[in-house]
Symmetry: C2
Subunit: 192 residues, 2 copies
DNA sequence: AAAAAAAGAATGAACGTTCATAAATTTATA
DNA sequence: TATAAATTTATGAACGTTCATTCTTTTTTT
């Protein structure tokens, strides 16, 4: 159906516009009229697709989080060793942060501001349960430390956000060697 | 001078009000009229102390960053070993994030949004040069990996922000044992 | 011709900021 | 030392603008 397709495209255009504006000026920089203009749409039209600005931002958050998770767990091979699986996920996440800069920096903005509903935030957490499951197994196998998933996330994944941030500000460059060093640091922080 | 004192107190009240409001509703939640009301002052009065809202937020950022640095480097003993000195700084920073929750979560919000001028951000970085200097020495002494300060920061200090965030959302608790585990993870990620 | 989708104009509220004026304080004059 | 002038500090109301959202009308699709 061409119409449905058009609707989907318009929704996507709106979310993309929001993403862009939030990244450049924070949530306050993404006014409904600016979003509308950037998406080539009337402000009123937004409300055919979203209940409110809050709803739109929440939906954007979930969409981006889902695409982050999809990237993170792609080519995931349950046959491989625990460490290899973790390594794969880690580099997938790193690639996402490097290549999908807009999406990644939006997520890091969401994670540190009250701009997303707590409920929506909780829902977004579910996307990365495969990683938590892997950690559970890794702990059983005595491959990594017996720490809480929060601590494991804090020291292996979260640092990527900082590095991405620094790269975006041109304060450092995330080449292959730096990335390898970063993974080594991540692994060293949790391995047994 | 009682007058000067009163002025300083009013400035502090304004900054404290801003801190509070930004933490609870982001930069958009801290409107000038709300800040004024919370500080028991007329909106117009704010402009006797600050050029603009941006200026006020920038100054708050620098003030908080300075007090973070002061906390981080207190009781700093150059006689101690490099590792002991790093450990001291790390736990100082952790204590700050645990005990000065408002200040700490404000900083983490600043670090991940476009709400602070790049120039002001640069100035804030200077406060933690002692840590960078220590890392330089630690690298010379072959005690830690030869990584960029950004990478070292990403894997040792930045994770604290995540853990604090989780604690503030009551998703985890930062007791003494967790903190010790966290330091071990931080150290393991960079030690040689 | 009917229904659905989109538009632009308009809504009241809230924004950051400025204004003219009032209160408080300091300085100068007696 | 007391008082008047001058200066500083603070105010509440008002500024123009922009905000998120809604209303009415027009366009597009069925």
């Amino acid at each position: 159906m061409a119409l449905l397709q058009k609707s989907i495209e318009k929704r996507m255009a709106l979310l993309k516009a929001t993403l862009n504006l939030v990244n450049n000026g924070g949530i306050q920089g993404a006014s409904m009229s600016k979003v509308a203009k950037l998406a080539n749409v009337s402000p009123a039209t937004i409300y055919l697709y979203f209940e409110s600005k809050q709803d739109m931002v929440n939906q954007l958050y979930l969409d981006v989080k889902a695409s982050f998770a999809e990237a993170a767990f792609k080519e995931y091979d349950p046959e491989k060793s625990v460490k290899e699986r973790f390594e794969k996920i880690w580099f997938n996440m790193a690639d996402f942060k490097i290549n999908q800069k807009e999406e990644a920096s939006f997520l890091s903005q969401c994670d540190n501001t009250p701009m997303i509903d707590e409920e929506t935030r909780q829902e977004g957490l579910k996307f990365i349960t495969p990683l938590f499951d892997l950690w559970t197994k890794a702990k059983e196998d005595r491959i990594i430390k017996d720490s809480s998933p929060y601590l494991l996330y804090a020291f292996t994944i979260y640092p990527l956000a900082f590095l991405m941030n620094m790269e975006n500000r041109k304060l450092c460059q995330l080449g292959d060697t730096v990335l390898k060093d970063a993974f080594q640091a991540a692994w060293d922080s949790i391995k047994l």
